[in-house]
Symmetry: C2
Subunit: 228 residues, 2 copies
């Protein structure tokens, strides 16, 4: 019997892909506005993506590295312009996907709710808090705390343990087939793939999802069907 619903955070509870793209595009635009000697926003955006890929998305000095990569002397005004534009854009996009809040309010009556997320604990909590979702969840496991990342079976079994539940009593909802769905499936959980349009072509290699949704509005009737 299903007793807990587990959620991924990024691109499951909110649109992290759009947030990152828009925040980075606006940071590039602001750096040009602040004097970066470049006019081609698209080209500069692609160079920034290269820096982010090289140093990792949690590296704190992407804009310093971008200037170095472009052979432009370190310039605090340009770097600050990038940071401020990123932060202000983030503020506008850090909103739950449509249907998330009503779903969680409904689920909260019958299930325990948790989050399983790769990433740094404080950073992931910051997102849930800014999203206004932090109070819905009883259990929150990040790879930073667990010591292993999804799709490791251990991070899912650890989450079930924190609830005092068997993994078979948990449903995992996530956007990534390999990371969220195959991992949780291997741990014995039921799985729901939140399939966003751009991922509709993806095929799973390991264990596939038990169910597929394309919006949170489909989640309430699906959970009611599964748990009848």
């Amino acid at each position: 019997m299903i007793k807990a619903l587990l959620f991924d955070v990024d691109d499951t509870l909110y649109d992290s892909t759009t947030l990152a793209e828009m925040a980075r595009r606006n940071s590039v635009r602001a750096m040009i506005d602040s004097g970066l000697p470049f006019r081609d926003e698209q080209e500069l955006y692609e160079k920034l993506l290269h820096i982010i890929k090289t140093f990792g998305s949690n590296y704190p000095k992407h804009y310093d590295e971008l200037l170095r990569y472009l052979n432009i002397p370190w310039n605090p005004k340009i770097i600050a312009a990038g940071i401020v534009a990123y932060e202000h854009t983030k503020f506008g996009y850090l909103k739950p996907f449509p249907g998330v809040i009503p779903s969680l309010i409904r689920f909260r009556k019958k299930f325990r709710l948790g989050v399983v997320s790769n990433g740094i604990a404080i950073k992931q909590w910051e997102k849930l808090i800014a999203l206004g979702l932090s109070h819905f969840f009883d259990v929150f496991v990040t790879s930073g705390e667990a010591g292993v990342e999804k799709p490791s079976v251990e991070i899912f079994t650890l989450t079930a343990e924190k609830f005092g539940l068997d993994p078979r009593e948990c449903v995992m909802i996530g956007n990534k087939l390999d990371v969220d769905i195959t991992g949780a499936g291997n741990a014995g959980m039921e799985t729901i793939w939140f399939r966003r349009e751009e991922n509709a072509h993806l095929k799973h290699e390991g264990k596939g999802p038990d169910y597929i949704i394309e919006s949170f509005f489909e989640l309430i009737p699906l959970i009611e069907k599964i748990t009848q």
Copy 2:
């Protein structure tokens, strides 16, 4: 003849005191809301001030230290709640004082404009950019770059040099008697003390201000009088 106007940033171009107090009070409130076992917001706020005083205002882990000081185990949800509340509050308060923007637009026609600020270059630029003021200033000197802090005469003479001017051709406008006014005065600049109500009782020890204003609306007629 006056050719450049120099400004301090914090508590001169915007209300940094109110921003910091409100952001810290909201961070304390959010930490309690997120489970910090404390009910007295005022007491917790005072403990946070103690931590900030101990570690310095630019230390990046005030909330981690606050939990340690309270003997509460490290908790990423509570720490994240403090950070998010601080950032969101900051966003609302980072606005120029009334009269700042029209004054700068007016001054920009006749003078070169600069900033002389103690602090870290990127952090101070972030403020000017978020305030929407960054494009007004030709010269921006921070203590981080200059290697000395206000009230050292050197930071003021360096600023004048960056304009290619003699210090006697510059007016310094700032809120701190000792840091902004005496320092710039010793460097040979004319000085205008932006005296906020809570500082009205202060007396200067070194060189006093040449002029006093209590709002930016007084600055345009004063500058016109001085430079006639």
